[in-house]
Symmetry: C2
Subunit: 216 residues, 2 copies
């Protein structure tokens, strides 16, 4: 085997030692200070024999050091390199997890976003302030009456005016009715910009018909 391969083999041994959740947990406890085997077993909920084996594995690659004192063997971290190594794994995992979450979110929202919001649900959530309602109809129609608190953003002006819409909250777009394409297009554009967006199931006429509050 080449020298290079041998080197990587050595590094891999360290990786192998760090490839078990139990061992990482033990290292986490040891990062707080010296512990003996029974204490670690109690903290982790593992059997004593199992903890002992994990500690041997860690000791085998220099991730922990042992010191006997009477009956007890105290384990501890030899230096900060160990903490650095665990932290590095953590960073990679966290960054990747964040990416996974984002992807899952996007996917789920994409599915949900095809499901339009019911008027009753929208009213309830708007009252809680957890959604932004936007009206994408032409100005005349907006001025003739709209859902209370709705921001008027005609579809043609969406590109210039989307900055006024907070990105944190879900956005619900509505227009003239269930077959009005304006809100579909608004949702599509906003989603491309990174918004969580859905359509109101029906439009403003239905809202009014259902005796829900109207602002002029």
């Amino acid at each position: 085997m080449s020298v290079k391969k041998q080197l990587f083999e050595q590094f891999a041994l360290v990786g192998k030692a760090l490839s078990s959740a139990s061992r990482l947990e033990l290292l986490d406890y040891l990062a707080q200070g010296e512990r003996h085997v029974d204490a670690l077993a109690a903290l982790s909920g593992l059997t004593k024999a199992n903890v002992s084996q994990h500690l041997q594995t860690l000791k085998g690659v220099g991730l922990v050091t042992a010191r006997r004192e009477g009956l007890n063997v105290y384990y501890s971290l030899p230096d900060d390199l160990v903490i650095d190594a665990v932290a590095a794994l953590r960073s990679v995992a966290e960054r990747h997890q964040a990416e996974v979450h984002r992807l899952v979110d996007t996917y789920l929202k994409a599915k949900d976003s095809l499901e339009p919001v019911e008027a009753e649900e929208l009213w309830r959530r708007a009252a809680d302030g957890v959604v932004t309602v936007i009206d994408v109809r032409p100005a005349e129609e907006y001025e003739a009456g709209h859902i209370p608190g709705a921001i008027h953003v005609p579809l043609g002006e969406l590109e210039e005016r989307f900055r006024s819409i907070p990105k944190e909250k879900e956005v619900v777009a509505y227009c003239r009715g269930p077959y009005c394409v304006l809100s579909f297009e608004a949702v599509a554009k906003l989603r491309l910009m990174g918004y969580t967006t859905r359509r109101l199931k029906n439009g403003f006429p239905e809202w009014k018909r259902d005796r829900l509050p109207v602002e002029i």
Copy 2:
């Protein structure tokens, strides 16, 4: 399973991905730049299918990213966190390896140091300048004749004079003969000071008897 355990499970996945010498080698190539599967297979000497599998593993925890361009899929490192993680493993491995080497050396030298040097071997190595020869007998005996190039360091003056003995070279101490304790004691003291030291198997009288060169 507890949230905490789940977290460690995630970190462990990253460790697992880093627990194979082949994968670390692939990451090393990718650290130099984007590469497609066949190129990595050629560089590493692994089969294409195997490289592909390793890359899937790495991608699974976000250690590499893939980009398709025509027939080729180009892999690369998503960010410096990956390099940091590998470097952390490397550091731990290297520190530990150094310790292992030190321990093995100490052990081997300790064993060897019990084996006295043969006169013929000493003469050969002294001619090469790779050993320092010290004479620990009293001044009168040294002045009556000694091994050429030998430094006179009577046992009683060892503590004050050891600074004149280079630490890099092996030190060979001799005195009156195989049963002369002076050289044993000198060896013991010098080893405590960190020297690599052995005794000459026999002493100066035997050296002279064997017609080896003498300096006065």
